[in-house]
Amino acid sequence: MEQRDAAQDGWLERLQRIDRRYIFILMAVAVIVPIVLGVRLPVGKPTRPVRLVYDKIDSLPAGSVVLMAYDFGPSSAPELAPMAVAILRHCFSRDIDVVAVSFYTAGPPLAQGVLDQVAKEFGKKYGENYVNLGYLPGMVPLLIRMSTDIPGTYKQDYTRTRMSELPLMSRVRSYDDIALVVDLASSDTPAIWITVVNARYQQEVAAGVTAVMAVDYYPYIQSRQLVGMLGGLKGAAEYESLVGRPDEATKRMPAQSFAHGLIILLVLLGNTAYVIARIRARRRA
């Protein structure tokens, strides 16, 4: 009897201190299997913050200009690029023009790729319907400067074309000419947009953020400093369903569900083992 107990304790102990590499393998399997087999699951109803962004863009008149900030690098692109695509489709389908900026060095090429791809779908022209201003360092001072003179701040676009050669930029002098800022961000740039541009110049700002940051920005939605927000792949999937074009994000949701399930299972397993072990230890004592 004594011996069996010890053996069981050993098993529980081992379960609690399992080598991390087994967890890694399980994780890999949970993600690879649904992708390779192409499993499908429904997305579900859009949440309120996503709806708010959609409604805002939907209410803008044709010819308005939306400033999209691509403040993310390739590493967050799996989450944020699908958002960019969905939002761009929404804008272009409503004849809203887009000016792209980046406060992240690796942002501009990504922005260019996404913009060109979606523009092609809708037959939009570079320079007239969309412009990519590229990256400049020093975000806060730049944002302040843009309040008086956006073309003067940038001087040239991402491919070093001068502002005077971009017809769209003649319509975009300052924040007054921008209907909405959408910041797609993998770091805390939306907070800077809010504290500098929304607070000082009353510019409406919406954000598309990684799921990590979503929780930080709820307070700003509640205080109406943010128009709305897309959080993570799920936010992107919801926007895709609102725009009526399920794409990347929607396709990736099943793997997401599987992996979440796995982590929750692991946590429950670990805790069950922990609780049983503790009860045993207490009973023995």
Binding site: S75, S164, D176, S187, D188, Q202
Partner: protein
């Protein structure tokens, strides 16, 4: 060493060679003739330009068109007013242009230059002029009574002018005979016009924010029927705008900053007079010394990561201050220290700090300047390298202080897998959950700043901590009062106004 220098020299040479690739060369063939004349049968304000040029297509990209009030001997320093570019790859660039709008009755000179695909412009300038535009056909009725007023909003930076006018009698709104109003600004009453914007028909106000303060301007408004048919210009009187020296919308910021600064300064000066101040123990800080001690016993290095924030970030500054104390202790014990940096400015400052710490500890000889080194400014390349350092150098303690992004958990989990003691501190609230779960001790948010004060034990800095605490008391009091007032207002209408004005105290405009 010599080989290193040689390599470096070779590299610099290659780099300079590479950067010399864009040298301006001789431009394309110049254009031959340029004819400028007033546009016929219009309502004025337009000049026709025609030129002919010989430039075989590959060398010609577009033409630059220049305009000036004086003859144009050279275009250097001038900005083209327009470009005539190829509409598509198969068609040649156009050889005519209509310059509009310009001011009727003034002398203008023009020049046109050819530019090749590499951006080289022809050297010899072909110019023409003077020429004047004139009205040759009646247009729609102009707008009336243009009024100008200096903007006087509390946040007026100067240079903001509000325009208003009475609509042209022909204006029947959108879709009517008049499509838009053109707004122009003049520095002299009969001088050159600068077109500011077109506003749609039916609107009778415009705000010009592009002017300079303390400069006298005149404004003009024209009704536009289409591109070339326009009315006479209705002119405003002269106006000079002045900015405000003080942004009235921000009084609350100044007042709160003032109150808070007063609190902090009061406690700092009290501390300076020798007032004892208590600071509650912060577990993470006590752990710092233990960690250094353990590393010394084990003879393994200490890894100090000061985050990915820039040098001007407050959390990075706090991290630098803490690094100073850690370095001093480390210098006393003779424990190796590794400080990989992500920002070159931070690296330079931290080198200075560590050097100073060794100097103060009296171990200047043991100081290795390369213990603080730059890795790369790319987030994940940096993390890849720091992970490598952790697994290869096996530090006994990993300290993460400053601002962090997603890399926090990669660092902390890799550190945990090597069995190092881990102490973290950040005000990046997104990353706190990971440090809290994966590290042994975590300084949360403000604790990071407090830690730097706590470690220094300098009365003045402790004094400012006391000021911070009083700030919290004030905030709490405001919150409680505010919540009470707002709750009252929600249920008792007369209090609504009070609640609104209370709320507006905190409006950020």
């Amino acid at each position: 060493m010599r080989r290193c220098c040689l390599l470096l020299l070779l590299y610099i040479a290659a780099l300079s060679l590479a950067s010399c690739r864009h040298r301006p060369e001789v431009g394309p063939e110049p254009i031959t003739t340029l004819v400028v004349r007033d546009r016929a049968e219009d309502t004025g304000g337009a000049i026709d330009l025609d030129w002919s040029g010989y430039a075989p297509p590959p060398s010609l990209d577009h033409y630059n068109i220049y305009r000036s009030r004086s003859a144009i001997p050279t275009v250097s320093g001038l900005r083209p007013i327009a470009k005539a570019t190829k509409p598509d790859e198969t068609t040649d660039a156009p050889t005519s242009y209509v310059d509009t709008p310009i001011t009727d009755g003034l002398d203008y000179y023009y020049a046109v230059t050819a530019v090749d695909a590499d951006g080289n412009e022809q050297r010899v300038v072909t110019g023409a002029g003077p020429v004047q535009s004139a009205r040759q056909e009646p247009g729609p009725a102009p707008p009336l009574d243009v009024q100008v007023q200096d903007d006087d909003a509390p946040d007026d930076p100067g240079g903001v002018i509000n325009l208003s006018w009475t609509l042209s009698p022909d204006d029947t709104g959108l879709g009517g005979a008049i499509t838009a109003y053109q707004i122009v600004r003049l520095e002299q009453l009969e001088g050159e016009e600068k077109v500011l914007s077109d506003v749609l028909a039916g609107r009778s106000t415009y705000t010009d924010k592009s002017g300079d303060p303390k400069v006298q301007y005149y404004y003009g408004v024209r009704a536009l029927a289409d591109e070339t048919v326009r009315s006479e210009m209705a002119r405003s009187g002269a106006i000079i705008s002045y900015g405000r020296w003080y942004n009235g919308n921000r009084t609350n910021v100044v007042v709160s900053l003032g109150i808070y600064a007063a609190l902090v300064i009061f406690f700092i000066s009290r501390a300076r007079r020798g007032h004892e101040l208590y600071v509650r123990p912060i577990p993470g800080i006590e752990a710092l010394d233990d960690a250094i001690g353990r590393a010394t016993e084990m003879g393994r290095p200490i890894l100090y990561v000061s985050g990915l924030g820039g040098a001007s970030g407050i959390s990075t500054i706090a991290a630098m201050i803490i690094l100073g104390r850690v370095a001093r202790r480390v210098a006393e014990y003779g424990t190796p220290l590794l400080v990989p940096c992500n920002d070159p400015i931070v690296m330079n400052i931290e080198r200075e700090i560590v050097r100073q710490a060794y100097l103060e500890a009296g171990h200047a000889d043991a100081h290795d300047p390369d213990s603080v080194f730059f890795v790369t400014d790319s987030q994940f390349a940096y993390v890849a390298a720091v992970d490598g350092i952790m697994l290869r150098e096996r530090p006994a303690a990993c300290i993460y202080m400053g601002y962090f992004y997603a890399e926090s958990l990669i660092l902390a989990e890799t550190g945990a897998s090597t069995g190092a003691i881990q102490i973290a501190g950040t005000d990046a609230d997104t990353q706190l959950p990971f440090f809290v779960t994966a590290c042994d001790y975590t300084l949360m948010g403000e604790e990071l700043y407090a830690a730097s004060a706590y470690l220094s034990r300098e009365p003045m800095i402790l004094g400012s901590l006391k000021g911070q605490d009083w700030g919290k008391v004030v905030i709490t009091a405001l919150l409680v009062t505010g919540a009470a007032i707002v709750a009252l207002a929600a249920n008792w209408a007369p209090a609504a106004e009070l609640a609104e004005s209370f709320k507006n105290l905190f409006a950020a405009l």
